[in-house]
């Protein structure tokens, strides 16, 4: 823990537009606490978000923020990380962003093991558009666009990520900020792609997934839990119903994508010369010889 960074460094004057009781407040706080715990200064991170209630998060904290478009924050974050691996790159986006419109980027980020931390504000409903079912809504969920109840079963983020090759799976609950902070901090420390799926009540549009609903079911994985065993992790990732596990469900160290890119061997490209000859030692004449 660093002495010089505190949560106060992350305060920002803009008041969130979230509804009172929204889980996003806790996610914001958990993220700020995790930054402070790791001694990260605000300029050392870039928080990329998509579109939705939770994606406004970068506007409410003192950190570099890129508030992008719906579905694409993982792609934007991947580009940023590839260009400057020195930055701590975090994505904060909802379940629609991450598992719906942007699901393709999510799957490929998992197998790519790109070094970003993907925090999903998983409230299982579309809140900003005022209450439609989402990719993680339960079957039968009645919304404005599913008046007879949602027909599809929900997408299961953790098993999907595990199957897709993710090297870090975390689950947290917005009703327990301290625990969430620990999971987020471990995710940011993880080298490679890390997913933190945060169970988050939407008090306005998803009363069926309330604080009470989760409080009755969640439990924290104990110190004796071994997150490196993939078979055990798969079972835990799939556990959903009467009991829902929280914590670091899976963690395995694998080479990150960026450390395997030959062009990054001599450091971030953004810190190197733009002059091709100066940067590479290859002369223009040599390049042009290809064409004679």
């Amino acid at each position: 823990m660093s002495e010089d960074v505190t949560i106060a460094d992350y305060q920002y004057p803009t008041q969130p537009t979230w509804c009172p009781g929204c889980g996003d407040f806790a996610i914001l706080q958990g993220l700020q606490m995790a930054f402070a715990d790791l001694g990260l200064k605000p300029h050392e991170s870039l928080v990329v978000s998509g579109i939705g209630c939770g994606s406004k998060l970068p506007h409410y904290t003192n950190v570099n923020g890129f508030h992008s478009i719906h579905g694409r924050p993982v792609a934007v974050a991947t580009g940023a990380k590839l260009a400057n691996p020195d930055l701590n790159v975090v994505v904060t986006a909802g379940d629609g962003d991450s598992y719906g419109i942007g699901a393709n980027h999510f799957l490929h980020a998992c197998r790519r093991n790109i070094g970003i931390t993907h925090i999903v504000e998983d409230n299982r409903v579309y809140g900003l558009t005022k209450g439609q079912y989402s990719p993680t809504s339960y079957k039968g969920f009645v919304t404005k666009t599913s008046p007879e109840g949602a027909i599809e079963p929900p997408l299961e983020p953790l098993p999907t990520a595990l199957t897709s090759g993710a090297t870090f799976l975390g689950r947290a609950f917005s009703g327990d900020v301290k625990h969430m902070k620990e999971v987020i901090a471990r995710a940011m420390e993880h080298e490679g792609y890390s997913l933190v799926d945060v169970l988050q009540p939407c008090v306005t549009f998803n009363p069926g997934r309330s604080y009470d609903f989760y409080n009755e079911r969640i439990y924290k994985l104990g110190d004796d839990y071994d997150p490196t065993d993939k078979q055990v992790a798969r079972k835990k990732a799939e556990e959903w119903g009467e009991r829902i596990p929280l914590g670091v469900i899976y963690e395995r160290n694998m080479p990150t994508y960026e450390e395997q890119v030959p062009a990054l061997e001599d450091g971030p490209i953004v810190k190197r010369s733009l002059d091709m000859e100066e940067r590479s030692g290859v002369s223009y004449g040599e390049i042009k010889k290809d064409f004679t």
């Binding site: 570099n64 923020g65 890129f66 478009i69 694409r72 940023a80 260009a83 400057n84 930055l87 390049i287």
Partner: protein, 582 residues
């Protein structure tokens, strides 16, 4: 009359080595001081199906292919039937004697038959049927009087990796091809004589020229999804990415490609996205994001005829309106429309400076014809050493160190361009957003700020037009009866058309738009007002540039010559259509 401007077509099935044979011949021509212009016509398939490689060779620099074939090299019977009618009077066909071709019938059509036992020579001298192509090259050398030593040099280089034996076999086959033609008394009325003491040439296509411009322009990040005919830019840069320290990424989709480039650019990379019309359509939402967040973004849109899959391996200029207007709301962008190797190189080099100077998307709109046509050029026009890198209003480390107060990423300025900090400095922690925002980057819906921000961004287009948009190129006599207007790859054929029109008694000039947006209205208006009769020549079905000119100048171009069959313009075609207009 012996001509030194001739067209040779190699025809065969895909997979028979037509392309590599053609490329080798082009390189040999270029080294001999001649100016080849090569064009491959292929279908969207890997093997099988007729395809051909066309090479026009001249003693002076040429900018276009032309109609009519002087010498056809037929590896298949289909090649003969496909191209027979295109052969000019006095032209001929080199074909394997085993093909079912009637020499008497050819003669009746005014075509010289040159049967050569290509396969037998290949087997006897080289030991493999694939060397029939080499035998054909030998036959061409025999017919045209070209210097075999240039061909030998190419064979030695191309086959070196396969070992001395393969090199020697190919050399033997080529020589046997020459000897066969010589010993059978074949002759032709065209001649390919090397140009003595000529300067060294580069043999290059439009995509490669763009790629060289890009790397000289500081490109250090490419994210692109393969799409014909843009892919060779991605491939060329990727091939050199390790030695040149350029991060290249082929991601899961075009959506990923453009958004990765935006992320990379946001933190300071000079990021390039290559695509074609379909992929560009997928990127449009992100284009708006780059416009709104004022993130530099460079896109190469190498177009092909649409809609949808259209004619995937062919050429067209149907994406002009799309790249100029594709948007949610209004934001400034720059669109370059190169027409030559030199302009393609310049577009690659300029794009990154323009994108950083104006902190907005810069799109180079090229097409399959410019992208794939191979030309010999003076290496001086690929002036990589001369490219200067200008990062515009990017704050340096020292400027950031002495920055005081709150950093305003989207500060209102006179030029519309705000000083830009890259994320990572203690004194400039900031956010930006696709939502409308304040100078600081916070979301706002304040009507007054909204108006000011829209005006600020729009101002950048004005600044760019004043400082960086290149004037159209005007060529030909001022007192012309016919004035052609063109853009992009059509320039080459139009240029030759105005040189040929005087033979038909028509004085013609042209105006070529190499930069299309922000629209150089003043210059185009001047050209139109000074012209007697104007004709827009472009490769699409609705006259997109003609409409754009009306929109931007209030002037209506008199006539249009459009082509949307997927094939590039030829000077012959333009001349013929212009005569109809008169």
């Amino acid at each position: 009359m012996v001509t030194d401007d001739m067209t040779i077509v190699f025809g065969g099935d895909a997979g028979q080595g037509i392309r590599s044979t053609g490329l080798g011949f082009i390189k040999a021509n270029a080294r001999s001081g001649l100016f080849p212009f090569g064009r491959q016509d292929y279908k969207s398939r890997i093997r099988g199906g007729h395809n051909f490689f066309e090479i026009r060779v001249a003693r002076e620099e040429i900018y276009s292919h032309t109609e009519g074939i002087d010498l056809l090299v037929a590896i298949t019977e289909e090649t003969v039937t496909e191209h027979l009618e295109e052969i000019v009077a006095g032209g001929g066909i080199i074909y394997d004697e085993g093909l079912d071709v009637d020499p008497e019938e050819l003669k009746d059509n005014g075509v010289e038959p040159y049967p050569v036992p290509l396969n037998r020579i290949a087997m006897e001298e080289g030991g493999a049927k694939i060397m029939a192509n080499t035998a054909a090259i030998g036959a061409i050398v025999g017919l045209t009087g070209f210097d075999l030593s240039y061909i030998e040099g190419i064979i030695e280089e191309n086959f070196a990796v396969k070992g001395d034996e393969v090199v020697q076999n190919n050399l033997d086959v080529a020589r046997a091809g020459v000897e066969y033609v010589d010993s059978h008394g074949y002759s032709a009325n065209y001649h390919l004589e090397p140009v003595p003491e000529s300067e060294e040439r580069m043999v290059i296509n439009g995509n490669q020229a763009f790629a060289l411009g890009a790397v000289a322009g500081g490109c250090n990040f490419v994210s692109a999804y393969p799409m014909t005919p843009s892919t060779s830019i991605l491939e060329w840069i990727t091939k050199h990415s390790q030695e040149l320290s350029i991060v290249t990424k082929q991601p899961e989709s075009e959506l990923a490609a453009v958004n990765m480039a935006i992320g990379a650019s946001h933190v300071g990379a000079r990021a390039l996205v290559t695509t074609s019309g379909g992929g560009f359509s997928l990127m449009v939402e992100a284009l708006g994001l780059a416009g709104m967040t004022e993130t530099p973004l460079v896109i190469a849109e190498v177009s092909r005829p649409g809609p949808s899959t259209g004619l995937p391996t062919r050429t067209g200029q149907g994406d002009l309106m799309s790249v100029v207007h594709a948007s949610q709301g209004d934001f400034p962008r720059i669109v370059l429309t190169p027409g030559t190797i030199s302009e393609a190189f310049q577009a690659g080099a300029r794009s990154f400076n323009l994108a950083e100077k104006y902190q907005t998307p810069v799109i180079t709109l090229s097409d399959q014809h410019l992208a794939d046509s191979i030309r010999a050029v003076d290496p001086g026009i690929i002036d990589m050493e001369g490219v200067e890198i200008d990062r515009g209003e990017l704050l340096t480390e020292e400027e950031l160190d002495s920055l005081e107060g709150t950093y305003l990423r989207h500060e209102f300025t006179e030029t519309g361009v705000s000083p830009r900090a890259l994320p990572g400095h203690e004194n400039a922690v900031y956010k930006t957003t696709g939502n409308e925002h304040t100078e600081k980057g916070d979301i706002t819906e304040d009507p007054e700020i909204r108006m000011k921000m829209m005006d600020k961004r729009a101002k950048k287009a004005e600044t760019a037009l004043e400082n960086d948009i290149e004037s159209p190129i005007a060529e030909g006599p001022e007192d012309a009866e016919i004035s052609l207007l063109c853009w992009g790859s059509t320039y080459g054929a139009a240029k030759e058309a105005i040189e040929r029109l005087p033979e038909k008694g028509v004085r013609a000039n042209l105006c070529h738009l190499r930069d299309a947006w922000p629209f150089p209205a003043e210059e185009v208006t001047g050209f139109l007002d000074g012209a007697e009769k104007t004709v827009l020549v472009e490769g699409n079905g609705s006259g997109e540039m003609k409409k754009l000119i009306s929109q931007e100048t209030g002037r209506v171009v008199d006539h249009e010559v459009l082509k949307y069959d997927g094939r590039p313009f030829t000077p012959d075609y333009i001349v013929e259509k212009v005569e109809e207009v008169i």
